[in-house]
Amino acid sequence: MSAYEISIISIIGINVILAVSLNMISGFCGQISLGHGAFFGAGAYAAALTMVGSGSVLLAILAAVVTGSLLGLAVGFASLRVRTDFLAVTTIGVNFLFVGFVRKQAWLGGEMGISGIPASGFGPVGNMTMILLFAAATIALSLYISRSWMGFAFRAVGEDEGAAATLGISAGAYKLAAFGIGTALAGLAGCLYTFFTQFITADAFDFIFSVMLMAMVVIGGIGSTWGVVVAAVGLTLLPEAIRFVNDYRLLVFGGLLVLVIRLAPGGLAGVIQKAFLAVRRS
């Protein structure tokens, strides 16, 4: 495999983890989060500092997961107070706050970011394999949760909080659980990203990236694990596929986003479901 292919596959794996974990929060549990990049970034920075300090891969993974989920739980508590669109804007705020804060901190490298992060020691192929294993584990976890009691509770809370509460489902506890799990995985993805690039700046975790992740969830079909996986792979490959229009990359991306949502508001999962129903009816 060429270095190019290895790096593309690594990025796909990372984006799959991010999109699937965001889908747990926004898809399963209905809590719109447009700040997933902040948790990803928190994990990446935690991993980078740990690697620079200790060089231990295991510690770095641990630090990233813990940092991601702690920040996530903090936002989760916010989700208990503010709802729906208020929450969406709050999470946008969290993302801008994260980037704005990191840029001004000398100990986090400021505008320049952190470079020269020690290698994980697995080499590019080893890193890629690790990323893919974690991505597969994330998908498995997502499928498991969606079929478990917890998944039912998430969906109940997402559909109608009041009704869920009437059934004795503690909406607050499940929201916190969704944020905790989803952002822990985002932190993990951040750590893998750090191993992959060995160089991070705040710009990699900006709001546009969070929008990109949300776009993967919406285009894949909100709540559908496989739909989101396909969309994550597709949207990651898209910039590569339209490399020939490199100068118009954002134009094409924005246009396609509008077009896809306009034509298939239910996402890929919605399209497939419709096709399936049509075949059965005929």
Binding site: V89, T90, V211
Partner: protein, 289 residues
């Protein structure tokens, strides 16, 4: 005197934010959509103002042209993009809206260049007055006066005219208003038209203030406007006006006191998050959430 200077800066920014975000509040109040692409309308207004002003030599004509073009664009956004998406979850139109903003922003970059465009003649931006030792620029005065005029007009329109009253009726109780013969679809178009005109004026004023329109002009402002309308209590025009002024002032002073620690654009969101934790329904406390 320095602190009063900051207050003037803060208030003029606040007025600009208010004109920018009232359109968003209007759309949210009626359709429950976070209309992020409003920032593209704002940017379009700024570009048209500069282009026409340069072509004709009159800044006034520039503003006028922007106020004609942007409502058409705003209404087209509603017709083509939002109307078919109304029955889906709010994140669906939101993502489409963000997509359109990204598209427009890149389109502006491709057509008018990375560096943006400037006024050929803009004596206005550099004229300053000294009032009792406080330095005030002509653009700041113009912004504040424009905002006062625009919002007084809007207030009179919504309270004194039949159309305005019908509009408010539709926003608060769409079904009942419809049964009284008010066409809700026309109200939606009116909503987008009025909001877009306000955004165009704000865009033109920002272009004046910076003497520059670049592709990124709408980007940060758009998310700040989201913070503002949420602070204002989503859908409340009065709350939005208060929140805009508060944010303008918080930013002006905040940049001085905590600027070393946090950048200007993040201050708005820090204020937002702190306030939301204290008052989850925003300033006005309307229970829309």
């Amino acid at each position: 005197m320095y602190y009063i200077d900051l207050a003037v800066t803060g208030i003029s920014f606040g007025c600009m934010y208010a004109m920018m975000s009232v359109g968003l509040t209007l759309v949210y109040g009626l359709l429950r959509i976070l209309h992020v692409a409003h920032a593209a309308v704002f940017a379009l207004g700024a570009y048209v103002t500069v282009l026409v002003a340069n072509a004709t030599g009159s800044i006034l004509l520039g503003f006028l042209a922007a106020m004609i073009v942007t409502p058409l664009f705003g209404m087209a956004i509603y017709r083509v993009m939002y109307e078919p998406l109304l029955k889906y979850r709010p994140d669906v139109p939101l993502i489409a809206s963000i997509g359109l903003l990204i598209f427009m922003q890149d389109a502006f970059r491709i057509v008018f260049g990375e560096q943006g465009i400037t006024f050929h003649r803009n004596a206005f931006a550099f004229t300053t007055f000294n009032i009792f030792g406080v330095t005030v620029s002509a653009v700041q005065i113009a912004t504040i006066i424009t905002a006062v005029v625009v919002f007084t007009a809007l207030h009179l329109f919504t309270t004194r005219t039949r159309i305005g009253i019908g509009w408010r009726a539709t926003v608060s109780k769409p079904q009942i208003a419809a049964s009284f013969g008010i066409d809700p679809i026309k109200v939606r178009y009116l909503n987008f038209a009025v909001g877009s005109v306000l955004a165009a004026i704000a865009g033109g004023l920002v272009a004046e203030m910076n003497n520059l329109v670049d592709p990124g002009i709408g980007f940060v402002v758009s998310y700040k406007a989201l913070a503002i309308i949420v602070l204002g209590g989503l859908g409340s025009v009065r709350g939005t006006l208060i929140a805009s002024l508060v944010l303008g002032l918080v930013e002006a002073y905040g940049t001085i006191f905590i600027g070393a620690w946090l950048d200007r654009d993040a201050i708005a969101f820090l204020a937002l998050i702190v306030l939301l934790m204290i008052r989850p329904q925003g300033f006005t406390g309307a229970r829309t959430a």
